[in-house]
Amino acid sequence: MMNIVWLILAGAAGGIIAGMGMGGGTLTIPILTLALDVEQKTAQSVNLIAFVVMSAPVLAIHVKNRLVDFPSLLKTAPLALVGSAVCAWFAPDVPAEILSRCFGGFLIALGTWQAVKAVIDKVKEKKGFSPKMFPPSLVGCSLLTVSDTAYYPEKLKKKNPA
């Protein structure tokens, strides 16, 4: 019974990271294998199924909000689909220890790359390179140019003919 509580908590920890868009499976799998002694392949299958269940409604919302770019999707998805089907077919046959060690290497590479990228982004932002202020200033600009008084200054003149 206690075990189930830990399993739910492990899933929640991974889910929070996934919900923040930082790649939750990469955390859920090591928690399951390192802390809870789940076999690598089983942890992977759990993560795949959990992702499908969680992201189906998320994707529906993204499509509705027109955030999904279909041309890029068509460019990327078919080859990715082929790669994943082939590798998923072989993954369960790879000895658990080798699979686990390779996954460890993948985590090190991915973590290092993402951390370096995050630091570089942060430094750029500090120096003022970042377009972080872009959306609000864009809104400000469009307000200025589209709003009546700015675009048709004669209206103002008519109101106060002085």
Binding site: G15, I16, S45, V46, V63, L81, V82, S84, A88, F103
Partner: protein
């Protein structure tokens, strides 16, 4: 003339690289049961998508991969009903919480913490128990 030719060949090499990256992201996702999204997002950004659109489109790319991979894993016998229900429930609840939290926190420190945990876990798994 030569410069033009060279430009064209680098452009086609780049396009080839991008297709290769898509294939590699799929392989990683199938082999490790996750992590493909982290590779697809920068690929999509390189197509000129904004961060927000790249994240949303990455979900659309990864979802069918995970569905196909999950079916293959189940067919091959890698499946544990109780484990899936417990962890899956946690993931869904955590996912909703994470999506809500995202708007409220400055997540630089949090993501650094997450990457350090990731590297630590990676070292532990690579070295073996």
């Amino acid at each position: 003339m030569d410069a033009n030719k060279a430009e064209k060949s680098t452009a086609s090499r780049l396009a080839f690289l991008k297709y290769f990256a898509a294939l590699a992201a799929g392989c990683v996702n199938g082999l490790f049961g996750g992590g493909g999204g982290m590779l697809v997002v920068p690929l999509l950004t390189s197509f000129g998508l904004t961060a927000k659109k790249a994240h949303a489109t990455a979900v659309a790319v990864i979802l069918p991969l995970c569905l196909v991979s999950a079916v293959i894993y189940i067919v091959k016998g890698c499946f544990d009903m109780q484990l899936t229900l417990a962890v899956g429930g946690g993931v869904v609840a955590g996912g909703i919480a994470g999506a809500l939290l995202l708007k409220k926190t400055d997540n630089f420190l949090l993501s650094m913490f997450f990457y350090i945990v990731m590297i630590g876990a990676g070292i532990k798994m690579a070295v073996g128990r």
